[in-house]
Amino acid sequence: MDFWAYIPQLLSSGITMGAIYALVALGFVTISRASQIINFAQGEFVMLGGVVTFFLLNGVRLPYPLAALIAVTIVVLIGFAMYLSVLYPLRKASILILIMATLGISIFLSSTSGLIFGTLPKALPPFTDEQPLTFWGISVLPQSVWVLVSTLVLLIFLYLLSHRTLLGKAMEASSTDPLGADLLGISRSLMVFLAFGVSAGVGAFAGILITPIFFTSYNSGTLLGLKGFIAAVLGGWGKNTGAILGGFVLGIVESLSLAFIPSGYKDAVAFVILLLILYLRPKGILGSPFIDSRRW
């Protein structure tokens, strides 16, 4: 069975993708904990992060770190704008309207990005050089190592943000117990506003990390967003740790399954996993405070 030979290689690329799914899932969970909205445009933030950095790097000729920083800021501003213009007026609408509104925003962002920045896939230069490192017969790009390290750093940063700063604690409080937070004077809409900014920033960051390895084009955001959502559900809906775990598990399972099925079915694997999770264990792997299994 010579497909066992692929397994280590697939595992390494799976872990890389898993980190990206984890970041996207984190973005989903941040917003939905604060406001019960599921933001289908999350994948577009990732796409925009990569595309705007490319534009700033090649069009405006800024140095790489500065371009990345400005791109993240721009995407955060877009997240804020999105909340203020569309989701704040719709804050009392039904689930269906919210889903359609976020889908509409997703279409808008992807088509506008195609209009402004072009429709061809974009590549960014990797952080360090491009030669793959080979050990134990598998070749790993240095960029993959950067992805994992950066994800870890970002997670630590977010943890510190939510547990050590006042603003972060306010956001946590607002998500865990909205009524209690309201009584304490924490403005709910401000918290949701900030949550949008944080999740847009996390998404853009993920986009910059991933574009050197996998190209981003104007329509790659949609599928990425869906898979990130699946990862969040898989890990346990509503928990940050669940999102991260779900992301890695989804990335690894998706990658490993390629050893057994033709490569065209790769995208279907994520959705099959989703359907299995929803039927068998909707709480997700780690369990979820929001879903009551008895009702299913």
Partner: protein, 411 residues
Amino acid sequence: MVKKEKKYEPPNSNDRSPRNNYLIGFWCFDIIWNLGFGNWNLNLSRQENMVPQTTKRSQRDFRKRDVFYLVPLWLISLIAPDPYLYHKKEFKKKDLYYLGAIGLAPLIWSDPHFHHVMVLAGIYAILALGLSLFMGYAGQISLGHAAFFGIGAYTTAILTTRHSFSPFVALWASALSASAVAYLIGRPILKLKGYFLALATLGFGEIFLVMVRESTNLTGGVIGIFGIPWFSVMGFSFDTYLRQYYLIWGVVTGLFIFSKNLVRSKLGRALLAVAASEDAASSVGINVPRIKLEIFVLGAAFAGLAGSLFACIMSTANPEAFGLGVTVPIVMMVILGGMGTIYGPVAGAILLTWLMDILSRYQEYSLPIYSVILILLLIFFPDGIGTRLNVRILYLIGYWAKKRKRDEGKL
């Protein structure tokens, strides 16, 4: 403008579902007819069945083909209004006006482009009608309806190109196959609610697309299937846009009457109960999972029908046409037309199809403008465009007028 208030009549609990009466009657008639006059020549070879009968038949043979003509007759019985129902005037004058408008419009504007756009609008109307029964009346969310559309189209494509079935037969086969798939996946999926149902249906739609793209032997993969013949019934082929227009809108009218009957029947009221509260409905004795499954299957059957007609009109079936680019517009049509009405999705379909056609003139800017318009419509008209449109505009004008007064300190 004073509207005449109709006196409110409470529902009559003695009414019966119209389908049962006509169905039983028709089946009795058919069985007797075949017993009496039929030649039980179970000659099921497809070759004979598909050749139109030009020679004189002395005896009426019971053949497989008869089944395919039985089904539409049964469906016609569903459309016929139920005389026992308390609403004697089920169809008002305005229905006739709309019907007349639809019928006469292509004769007034004989531009083939107009016909083409209206044909597309009609197909979307069928889709939106099926979806509106599921979303509007039963209160669920389905973001994967395009998959049933695609199943219908591909079934027709495969049957007509590879196995030389007639398009009319393929029409019913597509509706049937879409319903079958809906039945299979329906029961587990419909246990979910809210966001998770939306996501699961989205996932199912995506899985369908991937399977279509990968199985190159069956569906032609990314290329799709070509050369689907025009829709034809007994030699009359619908090849020009004008004929297709009448075909599609005839089907829409039939399904419209069917839906109207449906919502006035027991099933329709059960749907409303389920949409209001599933627990309360099940406490009254409504079998909630079964009702949801029935309406899901029905919506899928509509979509399969629409898909079959779409394949015959486009004469190609291509996986790109059955993704989110169809699902998002039809859900918007249901929402914008007003959830929970029957005219709503049809009007929404016409509106959005024309919008997409007008915007295509702007080439690259069409999608961004389209999405902005959709978002604006969602913000300002979440109940649908038709509902209280005049009231809303008057309110906005009044608000603006009062604003000036307020600024001047008078209010």
